[in-house]
Amino acid sequence: MNEFASHHPLLVVALPKIAVLLFVLLTTLAYLTWFERKVVAHIQARWGPYRVGPHGLLQPLADGLKFLFKEDVTPAGADKFAYFLAPFLSLSLAITSIAVIPFGPKGFTVFGQSTPLAITNLNIGLLILFAITSMSVYGVALAGWSSNSKYSLLGGLRSSAQMVSYELALTMSVVGVVLMAGTFNLSEIVQAQQGFHWGFVPRWNLIGSPMPQVIGFFLFFTAAVAETNRAPFDLVEAEQELVGGFHTEYASFKFAMFFMAEYSSMITVSCLATILFFGGWLSPFPQTMGWGWTRYIPAATFALAGLALIIHGVRYLTIFGRFVLPALGLGLGGLGVLFARPGVPEFVQGPFWFLLKITIFIFVYVWLRGTLPRLRYDKLMDFGWKVLLPLSILNVVITSLAIVWTQR
């Protein structure tokens, strides 16, 4: 088997990794909709999905089945090729961008082939991510135009103009990080953030060494929220209530593809934000002598979550819930025990902190949606061109000055 693996590394190593990541990603997308509905509901002092399965956990399944069984209507006079291409392009580009993201430092070995915790490790990983982001404008533009409806056309044109404008600020705000790290390789950018200032403050790019990239981070996150068409920049989604957006004329599954593409871009941007500014898979605790107990934090988190689920689940309202929730709790507790066994904590540290940071960023995304009002279109374009772009250029200039100064 090892012989076969060394001759066919693509088949034995890359394809299973892709399959696993794709499966995990699609499930995460489905449950991201559940997460968003619950969080927005709790912000609005109500409960959100509660009935379909315990705590609404089967709601994404119900929604998926609904989308699959709805009638697929194509508007008359629509340009068929572009109409079918647009959601496909959106979704495939959004999912492809996860391929360059590293989830952890060490790899693992499969049949003698050692492989990192990422699908690829490109030297231009960051540039490829931006290339994919810039191509995703076509999904929106073609969708708006091909629907043969004036509201779709206007919504699509506005949305693609917004995406193109904020792309500039997005790419410029990252240049400071690239200057400090000296590479476009995402794994190396994370590794350049290792170490701790004065022993306990982590050397993430947010508090980086020549120049803290605070402005860069806020510019990046704002431009990313606008780029993924999320609130408060979500004229496209909102125009469904007001007029109509680029996905007005789209029926069941194609509509679902657009939404999956949007959530997938959210996940990608959160991953990028943690890698570039928050140290990626690096732990916030120093790895020196007295801090060895922090390696058991993943295990403790999972075990406590499992325990809480079990205690809450045995007194749940429905009988189905009284079986499912404790079973989930047992699963989580089992994972917690697994992470505490010898040899496992080092492996699980990187992905755990990475996923925790991504979850925080996704929570901030949903929080923004639930709290802030929408921007008017002309104010949005003003903000992108007159505020974000000059500030990002200023960030590049200041960072370059700081680097030249400290290297003198």
Partner: protein, 166 residues
Amino acid sequence: MTPQIAVFLILAAVTVAGAVSLILQRHPIHSALSLIVVMVALAGLYLLQGAEFIAAVQIIVYGGAIMVLFVFVIMLLNAGEEERTNLSRMARFVGVPLGVVFLLEVAYWIARATSHMTQSSPQAVSTRDLSTLLFREYVFPFELTSFLILIALLGALVLARREDSD
């Protein structure tokens, strides 16, 4: 048939197919989409030669900005499908055969002129090397090009302004 040659043949076929489709499509949007395919396939060919930065920038600039402009213009101008008429007799019996003969002749001369070249293994040019070249030896043409683009931008702004200022 090494993997490099196979990938090159696939990418070249996709490029040529995109270019031919660009000419033969009826609707301008489909032509624009074919041009996007050509740009992305060209980026793949650059990557095959080891120019990774150029490949990524090709997708970002050509595929993501210039072609978006093309698509916007076609959408805003609401260009419709073209009419198709049959080829005239002159075109069918004289034009197309002469065009094919010309193409074959050009292909023959290119093949003869490059037959001595062997396939070299491409070395990846890192971004660092490229930027060292660009900002040390070729800095003067670089700055001149940025001036040129600035002048073009200003010219477009002046020409496109509304004439309501006396």
